[in-house]
C-alpha cells in the first residue's frame, strides 16, 4: 500500500522543513550539541520515496538523515529528543543526529559513514526475504558516496543476488564542499548500468515525481525484480553542517544557491493544494513541532553512570577507565 495522497505528501515535506528549522533554532540555543546536517531543500526525496514504501519495508539514511527517519514514520518528538540527547529520544540519547534509528518503523539507522549503509541494508532485506514475505528496502546516499568502494561493492552484491534494494542517490551537487564535477568520473546512472541495474533520473524537488518513479521501481522489485537505482537531482538549501553558520566557507556561487532555492519542494507540492488546505496542514505541523520541542526539552538527560549501557547486547559489561 502506498500513499499517493498529495495532502499527506505535502504534510511530510512541510514537517521535515519545519523540523529542520526548529532544530537549527535548538542548535543556536545550545540545546542540540554538535550541530546538524540540515536536510533543507531535499525534503521531496525522502517524502516521495517513503510514500511509495510499505510500513514494514526497510530504510537506511545518511548523516543528512532527519528527513529519511521522519518520512518513514518516526515520531518527530522522539526524534527531536534524540537530537537534544535526552533519554526520551529514539536512541535514548545514544545516537544523536547522525545515528537516529527507529527499528519499529523500519529505519535501520542514519549512518554517518558515507557509502556504508548500502551493504547493510542489502543484507537486512536479503534476510527478511529469506524468511518469506515481499519486503523491499531503500537506502539513501549522496553524490559523494558514488565514489566509495563499499557502496559499489554493495551494488554488485545486490544485483548479483537480486536483492530488492532501491539505491537512492540524492545528488545535491556537492559532497561537503566538493562539486560533482570535481569528484565523479562518468555518471551515477552509468555506475548502475555497469552492474546491470535499471536506473532512473528524477526531479528530486518534485515530491510527486519522486513518489511515482519510486512506486514503479518498488512494484517491479516486489514482483521479483532485482535492485534499482534512482538519481534524484536535488539541492541543499543550507550549509553542509550548521558549523558553516559560524564559519563561512566560500564554495557555492550565490547565483547557484539562489537558483537552487527557487525550486522549493515545499512550494512545489504546496501549490498542488487549495490554499486553505495548505494553511490547515501548516498549522497542524506547527502544533506537532511545538509539542515536539516541549517534549524534547522536557526529557531527562541521561545519567552519566549509564554511558556504556547497550554497548553489548549480550550483557557483557566493559571495564571502567578509571585508575
Amino acid at each position: 500500500m502506498t500513499d499517493s495522497d498529495p495532502v499527506r505528501l505535502y504534510r511530510t515535506v512541510r514537517l521535515i522543513r519545519r523540523f529542520e528549522e526548529r532544530a537549527i533554532e535548538l542548535v543556536d540555543a545550545g540545546e542540540i550539541v554538535g550541530g546538524i546536517h540540515p536536510y533543507l531543500g531535499q525534503e521531496g526525496v525522502a517524502a516521495g520515496v517513503c510514500a511509495a514504501l510499505a510500513a514494514d519495508d526497510l530504510v537506511t539514511g545518511t548523516h543528512r538523515g532527519h528527513g529519511h527517519v521522519l518520512a518513514k514514520g518516526a515520531d518527530p518528538a522522539r526524534m527531536l529528543a534524540e537530537l537534544c540527547g535526552r533519554v526520551t529520544g529514539l536512541n535514548r540519547g545514544r545516537g544523536g543526529s547522525m545515528h537516529a534509528a527507529d527499528f519499529g518503523v523500519g529505519v535501520l539507522g542514519a549512518n554517518a559513514i558515507v557509502g556504508a549503509a548500502g551493504a547493510i541494508l542489502t543484507g537486512a532485506v536479503w534476510e527478511r526475504r529469506r524468511r518469506g514475505g515481499d519486503i523491499v528496502g531503500a537506502t539513501f546516499f549522496g553524490d559523494g558516496a558514488v565514489n566509495e568502494g563499499m557502496l559499489l561493492e554493495a551494488f554488485n552484491l545486490a544485483a548479483l543476488w537480486r536483492v530488492p534494494v532501491l539505491f537512492v542517490c540524492e545528488n545535491n551537487g556537492w559532497a561537503t564542499t566538493m562539486p560533482v564535477a570535481g569528484a565523479v568520473a562518468g555518471t551515477v546512472a552509468g555506475r548502475a548500468a555497469a552492474f546491470g541495474m535499471p536506473a532512473a533520473a528524477v526531479d528530486g524537488q518534485d515530491p510527486e515525481a519522486v513518489r511515482e518513479v519510486t512506486a514503479a521501481a518498488v512494484a517491479r522489485m516486489r514482483a521479483g525484480g532485482g535492485p534499482e537505482l534512482i538519481e534524484a537531482h536535488t539541492y541543499r538549501f543550507d550549509a553542509h553542517h550548521t558549523f558553516e553558520h559560524r564559519v563561512r566557507l566560500d564554495y557555492r556561487p550565490p547565483q547557484e544557491v539562489a537558483a537552487g532555492r527557487s525550486r522549493d519542494p515545499v512550494d512545489i507540492q504546496g501549490a498542488r493544494l487549495p490554499p486553505a488546505v495548505r494553511a490547515e496542514v501548516d498549522a497542524a505541523v506547527e502544533a506537532v513541532l511545538a509539542a515536539a520541542v516541549d517534549f524534547a526539552l522536557a526529557g531527562p538527560h541521561p545519567d552519566p553512570a549509564t554511558a556504556l549501557d547497550h554497548l553489548y547486547a549480550s550483557g557483557l559489561t566493559a571495564r571502567t577507565g578509571g585508575g
Binding site: L58, G89, L90, N91, R92, G93, R94, G95, H99, A101, D102, F103, L108, G109, N111, I113, A116, A119, I120, L121, T122, G123, A124, V125, W126, E127, R128, R130, R131, G149, M150, E153, A154, N156, L157, L160, W161, L308, D309, H310, L311, Y312, A313, S314, G315, L316, A318
Partner: protein
Amino acid sequence: MPRLSYRRALTRALADEMTRDESVVVLGEDIRVAAANVTTGLLKRFGPDRVRDTPLSEQAFTSFATGAALAGARPVVEFQIPSLLFLVFEQIVNHAHKFPLMTGGQCAVPVTYLVPGSGSRTGWAGQHSDHPYALFAHVGVTTVVPATPADAYGLLVSAIRCDDPVVVFAPAGALDLRADVSDLTPVPLGRGVVRRPGDDVTVVAVGHLVHDALAVADELADQASVEVFDPRTLYPFDWDGLVESVGRTGRLVVVDDGNRSCGIAGEIVATVVERVRLAAPPRRVTRPDGAVLPFAPALDRAVQPGRDQLAAAIQLTLKDG
C-alpha cells in the same frame, strides 16, 4: 575416544549450530568448495540460502552480514586470510560493534568472523601472516583464540550463540592438531583455563603458543614448576582466573604472537601488576614492534615468538627478585 582434528571441530561446530538454529548462515569466499577446509559438506547439507559463496567484496559482504544480523540472522563470515580483517576493520568496528549502543539498544549484531589460518603459515609472507587479535580486543570486540580442537568447537559454538560480534582466530599453528575428544560442548566466552598447574611462574600463552608453552614447561621441569594459563578469550579476558594463578605463583611471563607495542601481552602485564604484587618483574615474548613477516622461512620464524625466547624469559623471571 574419537580423534578430532581442529579443522573438523570447526566444521562440526558450524554444522551443529546450523542444524540447531535456522538463523545461522555462513558467508565467505570459496566456502562452497571449502577452500579453507572448514565448510566441508555444508553447502550440500544446508543449501545456498544458508551457505553463500561470495564474490571478492570483503567490505560489502561483511556489512551485508551486519544487515542480515539486524534482520534476525546469525551469520558466520569466513575469511581465508587474517589480513583481510584490516580491510573490513571499519565494517566490524564502526558498524557491527557500534550499532547496539548507537541505537540505544534497539538491535543486536550477532555475527561471527571466523579466520581459519591466522598468523604465519610459513611462506605466505607479508600480507597473509598477521595475527591482529589485539586490535579487536582494543576496540572491544569479543575475541577468541582457541588452542585445541575441543576449544575450537566449544568457542565457535559460543561465538555463534553470542548476541554480540565475535572474532574467532583459529591459528594456522593449531589447525593441524588432533586430539582425543570425548565430549563436544560449548566453551563459555571469557573463561580461561590452566593447562598445566605449577607453583613458581605463570606463563600466559595465546592460541597455538599454548602448545609451545607446555613443551617449554616440560623442558624446564627440573628447574621450575611452570603453570600454563590459556586465556582462550582475549576480550573479555578472564582477569580473575589469571589473577588467581599469578597470586599463587608470584611471577608472570606472557607469550603472544602479536606485535609488541599495544599488544595483548602488554595489556596482560599491565592488568596483572595493577592487581598483584609480583616477586619479580614480568616479561613478555612477542613479535617485534611493527613486525612484517618476511618471506624466507628462517626470517619468518625469526620474527615469531620462539621456545628459546620463552625459556629464557622464564629463567630470567625466576632469577630476578
